[in-house]
C-alpha cells in the first residue's frame, strides 16, 4: 500500500529528485526543505528509495493531518508522519522531544524549518528546531532539499493539483560547526536550501 501511494505520487507529480550534493544513503539523516505546498512532505517522502523511505518520517502539523479520516489514514498508515502540535506547545507535548525520540529509534526525519507554508520561491527565516536537533544529535547528517514550483502545482487551500513541472534538488549535507551561534547556523542552513534553486 505504501509503495503504491509512493508510486502514484511520483507518477502524478512527474518529479524525480536530483541528488547533487549527496547520494541516497541508509545513514541517519534529517532532510530539511522549503515549504510551499501540502504536497511537499508527500513528494519528498515518495521520492526516497523504498528502503530509506521505510525508515524516514515526515514531521507534520497535527491539526491539519487529523482534520479528516483520509488525512489521518495517510499520515498514520502511509507516511507514518510524526504529528506535532503547532499552537499549544507544552512541556509534555514538545515537538523537539518527539523528534529526538524518532532519531534515537534510529530513524530519519523530513522537516520544514520555516514552520508553515509560504508561497514565494525563497524560504523564510528558519525556526530554531533544526538547530536543537543539530546540537543534541551531532552524528545525524542534515541534508538540505529545495522544492521548486510545488506551490503552483498545489497552492495552500486547493484540493486538486495542476500538472505543472516541479523539481526536487538534494544538496550537500551540513553539520553544526563548533562555536557556531543559533542565528548563524540557521542562516547558513537556509542559504544551503536557497542556493539549490540555481543549480
Amino acid at each position: 500500500m505504501k509503495s503504491l501511494v509512493a508510486y502514484l505520487v511520483r507518477l502524478l507529480s512527474g518529479l524525480r529528485p536530483r541528488w547533487l550534493g549527496t547520494d541516497p544513503s541508509d545513514c541517519q539523516r534529517v532532510y530539511f526543505a522549503n515549504h510551499t505546498s501540502t504536497l511537499d512532505a508527500a513528494v519528498l517522502w515518495a521520492s526516497l528509495p523504498a528502503s530509506i523511505r521505510e525508515r524516514t518520517r515526515p514531521v507534520a502539523a497535527r491539526d491539519y493531518w487529523t482534520a479528516n479520516a483520509l488525512r489521518r489514514w495517510l499520515a498514520n498508515e502511509v507516511f507514518r508522519a510524526l504529528l506535532i502540535e503547532r499552537r499549544k506547545v507544552t512541556y509534555e507535548d514538545n515537538p523537539l522531544r518527539d523528534m529526538l525520540g524518532v532519531l534515537d529509534a534510529g530513524e530519519s526525519l523530513i522537516i520544514f524549518p520555516e514552520g508553515g507554508r509560504f508561497p514565494g520561491p525563497e524560504p523564510q527565516t528558519f525556526k530554531g528546531g533544526l538547530f536543537h536537533l543539530a546540537k543534541d544529535r551531532p552524528q545525524v547528517e542534515l541534508v538540505p532539499v529545495y522544492l521548486e514550483n510545488l506551490n503552483r502545482i498545489l497552492p495552500k487551500g486547493e484540493v486538486l493539483p495542476v500538472p505543472l513541472l516541479g523539481s526536487i534538488t538534494v544538496g550537500t549535507p551540513i553539520r553544526l560547526e563548533s562555536g557556531e551561534t543559533k542565528v548563524g547556523f540557521l542562516d547558513r542552513a537556509r542559504e544551503a536550501v536557497w542556493s539549490l534553486h540555481l543549480k
Binding site: 536530483r18 514550483n149 486538486l160 495542476v162 500538472p163 505543472l164 513541472l165 516541479g166 523539481s167 534538488t169
Partner: protein, 305 residues
C-alpha cells in the same frame, strides 16, 4: 513502402548517431550530436504514431497527439507567469478543455472543433480567473493562458484532424497524409539544422535565434520541399501541388520555430527541456508543427475535399 523507407533511414540515423556519440571529442561537437540524436528519437516516436494511427483507424493518433498537447501545455504553462488566482482556470485547461478539443476530433464534429478554443475557451478563461478576484496582471495572465491553449492544444489538434478529412479518391489513406505532413515538418527542421551547421554564415534573426542562418533556412526549405514533392505519390496531391504544400509547411515551420525562440528568450529560458531539470522538451520538438498544422489542414480541406 513509405514506412519501410523511413524506418530504414531511422535505423541508419540511429546507428550513425550512436557511433558518433561514442567517438565525440569536443564539448560543442558532443552537444551537436546529442541534439541530432534527440531529433532521431523524436522521429521514432512519430513513426510509432503513424503506425498506431493506421492500425487504430485514427483514434490512436488522437490519443497520442492529445498526450503531446498535454505535455506541451505543461511545459508552456510552467514557463508563463500565472498566479494563485489562475489555479482553477488551469485545472479546466488540463482536464476539461484539452480533452474536449481532442474528443471533438475523435467524433469528427468539425463545426465545434474549429471554434471551441478560439471562442468558448477564450470567453471561459477570463471568466473563471476573474472569479478568484485577483486583478494583478490580469490581462497578461489571461492572454498567456489563451495563447498556451491556442498553440499547444488548438494548433496541434489540427494534425490528428487530418484523419477526419474525406478526400475523394483517397478514402481510408488519411494516415499517409498525416505521416507525410509530420515527415515534411520534421525533415525541414533537421535539414535546416544540418545546412546551418555545415554552411551557416549569415544570421537570419540574430536577436531571436542566433543559430538560425540564411544558408540553413534556404538549404533546409529547398531540400525539404524537394523531399515533399518527391513523395507526392503517397498523397492526394500532384507533383506540383505536393511541392507547394511542402513549401508552405516548411515556411510555417520556420516561423513557428522563430516565434517559440522569441518566447523562450522573453522568459529567459534556453530550451523547454531545461526549464525544469530532468524533463524532456516536448515544445522544442513540436514548435514548427504547431504553426504548420492548421495551415496545412485548411489548405487540404479547402482545395481537396
Amino acid at each position: 513502402m513509405l514506412v519501410g523507407g523511413v524506418v530504414a533511414v531511422l535505423i541508419l540515423a540511429s546507428v550513425i548517431g550512436w557511433i558518433l556519440a561514442r567517438r565525440a571529442g569536443s564539448a560543442e561537437y558532443r552537444s551537436t550530436i546529442a541534439n541530432l540524436n534527440a531529433r532521431t528519437r523524436a522521429w521514432w516516436f512519430m513513426v510509432a504514431i503513424f503506425i498506431l494511427a493506421m492500425l487504430s483507424g485514427g483514434i490512436g493518433s488522437v490519443v497520442l497527439f492529445g498526450l503531446t498537447s498535454f505535455l506541451a501545455l505543461r511545459e508552456f504553462v510552467t514557463m508563463t507567469p500565472t498566479k494563485r488566482g489562475d489555479h482553477g482556470t488551469l485545472l479546466w485547461l488540463f482536464f476539461v478543455i484539452t480533452p474536449i478539443q481532442y474528443a471533438l476530433v475523435a467524433v469528427n464534429w468539425y463545426g465545434l472543433f474549429s471554434i471551441f478554443i478560439p471562442v468558448y475557451a477564450f470567453l471561459f478563461v477570463p471568466l473563471r480567473s476573474v472569479l478568484s478576484g485577483d486583478c494583478e496582471r490580469f490581462l497578461e495572465r489571461t492572454a498567456t493562458i489563451q495563447w498556451a491553449l491556442m498553440v499547444c492544444v488548438y494548433c496541434v489538434s489540427h494534425a490528428p484532424a487530418l484523419m477526419t478529412l474525406r478526400i475523394p479518391g483517397f478514402e481510408g489513406q488519411n494516415g499517409k497524409l498525416l505521416f507525410y505532413f509530420v515527415l515534411v515538418v520534421q525533415a525541414s527542421d533537421v535539414l535546416q539544422y544540418i545546412w546551418g551547421k555545415m554552411f551557416g554564415k549569415h544570421k537570419i534573426a540574430p536577436t531571436v535565434s542566433p543559430n538560425k542562418t540564411w544558408e540553413g533556412f534556404v538549404g533546409g526549405v529547398v531540400t525539404a520541399t524537394f523531399l515533399g514533392a518527391a513523395l507526392w505519390w503517397a498523397t492526394p496531391f500532384t507533383l506540383w501541388q505536393a511541392a507547394g504544400m511542402s513549401l508552405v509547411i516548411t515556411l510555417m515551420g520556420f516561423v513557428g520555430g522563430l516565434v517559440m525562440s522569441a518566447i523562450k528568450r522573453d522568459r529567459g529560458v534556453k530550451d523547454y527541456g531545461t526549464l525544469i531539470q530532468g524533463h524532456g522538451g516536448v515544445m522544442d520538438r513540436i514548435d514548427s508543427l504547431c504553426f504548420s498544422a492548421p495551415v496545412f489542414f485548411h489548405l487540404t480541406r479547402y482545395f481537396f475535399t
